[in-house]
Amino acid sequence: MLNYTLRRLMLLVPLLFFISVMIFGILKLTPGDPAMVLLGNRATKEALELTREKFALNKPVHVQYIKMMTHLFTGELKSIYYRENVIMVVLKKMKPTLELGGAAMVLAILVSIPAGIISAVKRNSFFDYASMTTALFGISIPVFFTGILLIYFFAVKLRLLPASGYGGSMFTVDGMRHLIMPAFVLSFTLMASTTRITRASMLDVIKEDYIRTARAKGVREFTLIMVHAFKNALMPVTTNLGNQIARLFAGAVLTETVFAWPGVGRLAVNAIFRRDEPLVFGCVLILSFIYVVVNLLVDLFYGVINPQIRYE
């Protein structure tokens, strides 16, 4: 397992190198001049030239790439907009994103796994139909719509929760009040897919012979479902959750924009609009790194839930 982990970690190097070349290529192919966006429409030609010089935007593409990579590793890569080390800028925004993503994930797991299991066990019951219909809504309704709807209801009409913004750490009352709506909205899509996958996977397992044998041997229904069936049905659910965890970091863009949440997703999007090339570069690389590492952890977790899996 150690060997496997090390090999996977080694593979990270060429993978991230490939990603960095891709991002840089896309950045350079995107129309728009960072200097123009930064200085606005009043800027003189002279000022534009100076800014291009300052951020090495007028150098040949390969020189710019090498410079960006070296600066990233030496910690000198600075955001054009924030004038601060890119890694620091991203890390500062990581806390709100982690809080939002974490809360959404916990909420999704707490709701969707029991809902998926019950739906499978009580197949074709009212509960099954209700939860599957809700899941269908969850998958199809855009975050933007659910977000505005919740804001209108809970903030405008009931005046129970703040409409948007970040209230500080989630462990404070104000922080938690600000977190509830965006976390729920973000978890909604996640809940939908997790419920459906849990249900499907459970249905497959319940049909297996060993479940029937266990039931014939008089195992209690609860133990049968939770211990014998659910553990084996967990594999696809874990895969899905693993993918979603990584998506929560980058995919929270819409939720963060609707709720004016100062996280990494909004940072990345704003950086793209501002043509802050170093920040986009740093942001995407860091997010890719997280994505790859989370996937590795998920792969390793398979061994925990199913000891038959061997890492070679």
């Binding site: 129309p31 200085l39 300052k54 903030a155 703040p162 970040y166 009040r177 100062p262 501002r274």
Partner: protein, 513 residues
């Protein structure tokens, strides 16, 4: 029962924190801003979002806070302009202090103007000071600007928030960039913190030279979605909201807890054509477009109370007024005449059958809608226009490369030079139409060099009449209004024509109850 009470208590503790402005007994005003400023250092501010806030931290030599077109004393209590218009002398107020306690002197003023002019700082406002030859501190409280040529809009440039006076010593120690994240001025509020995408916090400057502000703290919160901005003001999350959608404004106007204030703004939207690229370069094509779309109805339906139909380039109220003439020369909706022009152009081979072209515009929802309306209307004449709504970073280079047909906007301080030079001068970066006429260039150059209002007025009337009523290089669509919605607990706030947030002026000191 016990559980019930506990849950009520929890709910109460959650809801109590709702009221904004309760900051340990302090008077706090929370303002929702549609976009976060890029910079707060006046020398580096590139546009409106920074300008809107900067006036609260910094002061300018002269002030346009009360009236956008009449200069009033600011840091300078008086000033003189030499007869030839080449020498401006300002007498500074005594006893004014920066937030760090240092006194304001003429050295700070000289430093600030020179910093803006210094190419090394790449200041977006550099061009406003292009005619300045040198700045001299005559004594501690007198500063003189020597100009190469007379330059009429100089006072407006000096009164713009981008000309806020910086403390020389501190900026020299910190550097321009670092100063931007810890700005120190002489203004009514002192900078506390800037958490990007989250909030900018200011606190009161008790030693402000116009008297201490009534507010203890001001928080600017970026709320990017206009729908959410409306929900925020409705739910009491913010006290002042701006830049909202017409449908939200009409809903909020019915709310007793809120006050909707609309005033004429200083911005327009227009259709622009290429002066160089066929068929747009043929004046008949431009006139045909003018005739083919029912602009009155379209504008009324799209801007719904947040803009007035424009016939001229410069908004009413800004000198020189020529609205009557321009209104008379505007072309009416006349499909028959439009067809005559299009047919002529087709016959001469200038316009191809089924001509396809993009209408470039920004992501401003009103402009996207009017672009769509124009494109739909033009289908009736066999022109296949498609709307390309792009974000600024992508759109700007396209417009600069002669896009052909575009819908954009312009806005500025109330001086005709600032309204026209950038748009109509052949060498300007915002002349997206590539409009190039020696007589227009000459009139523009004269307009900024002349001192008397009458002579200047003639030049600008000529420019507008030639460009818009003869060449139809642009079709003026709308002059936007500025709408601010504020909660009833806010007292003394008024929106400004440029959508700036002026909280403390000579006549005004905003407070909350």
């Amino acid at each position: 029962m016990k559980k019930f009470f506990i849950s009520i208590l929890v709910l109460l503790s959650f809801t109590l924190g709702l009221c904004p402005g309760v900051f340990a007994g302090e008077k706090t005003l929370t303002i929702g801003i549609s976009k976060e400023p890029a910079k707060l250092n006046p020398v580096l501010i590139p546009g409106i979002y920074g300008e809107a806030l900067a006036g609260n931290i910094f002061d300018t030599l002269i002030s346009f806070k009360e009236n956008a077109s009449t200069p009033a004393p600011g840091l300078a209590e008086s000033w003189e302009i030499s007869q030839d218009g080449k020498q401006y002398t300002f007498h500074l107020r005594k006893g004014v202090k920066f937030h760090n306690g240092q006194p304001l002197t003429s050295a700070d003023v000289k430093f600030t103007i020179e910093a803006t002019m210094d190419p090394a700082n790449a200041s977006p406002s550099k061009e406003f000071f292009a005619p300045v030859d040198r700045v001299e501190a005559m004594d501690d409280f007198t500063v003189t600007l020597f100009l190469k040529d007379a330059y009429a809009p100089l006072l407006l440039a000096l009164g713009s928030p981008t000309s806020g006076i910086l403390p020389k010593e501190l900026v020299s120690q910190m550097g321009m960039d670092k100063f931007d994240s810890h700005p120190v001025g002489t203004g009514p509020f002192m900078f506390v913190e800037w958490l990007p995408d989250e909030r900018i916090v200011l606190k009161k400057n008790p030693d402000y030279f116009l008297g201490a502000p009534n507010l203890d703290r001001v928080i600017f919160r970026p709320v990017p979605k206009p729908e959410v901005m409306a929900a925020e003001i409705e739910s009491g999350g913010i006290d002042i909201a701006h830049q909202m959608l017409p449908q939200d404004i009409s809903r909020l106007a019915k709310d007793d807890r809120l006050k909707v204030m609309t005033i004429p703004g200083l911005g327009n939207s227009y259709i622009g054509f290429s002066y160089k690229k066929m068929p747009f370069a043929d004046v008949r094509f431009r006139k045909a477009i003018y005739h083919s779309v029912p602009f009155d109805a379209a504008i009324k339906g799209i801007w719904r109370g947040v803009g007035e139909r424009a016939y001229s380039w410069i908004p009413p109220g800004v000198f020189p007024e020529d609205t009557e003439y321009m209104k008379k020369s505007a072309l009416a909706h006349d499909p028959k005449q439009a067809r005559v022009y299009f047919d002529e152009l087709k016959k001469e081979g200038i316009l191809k059958e089924d001509f396809e072209f993009p209408i470039y515009t920004s992501q401003n929802p009103h402009r996207v809608k009017i672009a769509t309306a124009v494109a739909t209307e033009l289908r009736k004449y066999g022109l296949k226009a498609r709307v390309e709504s792009l974000e600024w970073g992508t759109l700007f280079p396209i417009l600069k490369a002669d896009s052909g047909f575009y819908i954009m906007g312009w806005g500025s301080v109330p001086d005709p030079d600032r309204w026209t030079y950038k748009i109509f001068h052949s060498g300007s970066s915002m002349n997206f139409s590539m409009y190039e006429l020696p007589e227009i260039d000459k009139a523009l150059d004269l307009g900024r060099a002349l001192v008397g209002a009458d002579k200047r007025g003639e030049q600008y009337k000529f420019i507008m009449r030639k460009a818009l009523a003869q060449d139809y290089i642009h079709i003026p669509l709308v002059f936007k209004s500025v709408t601010a919605v504020c909660s009833n607990r806010v007292k003394g706030f008024e929106p400004s024509a440029q959508d700036y947030f002026h909280l403390v002026t000579e006549k005004r000191n905003v407070t909350v109850e």
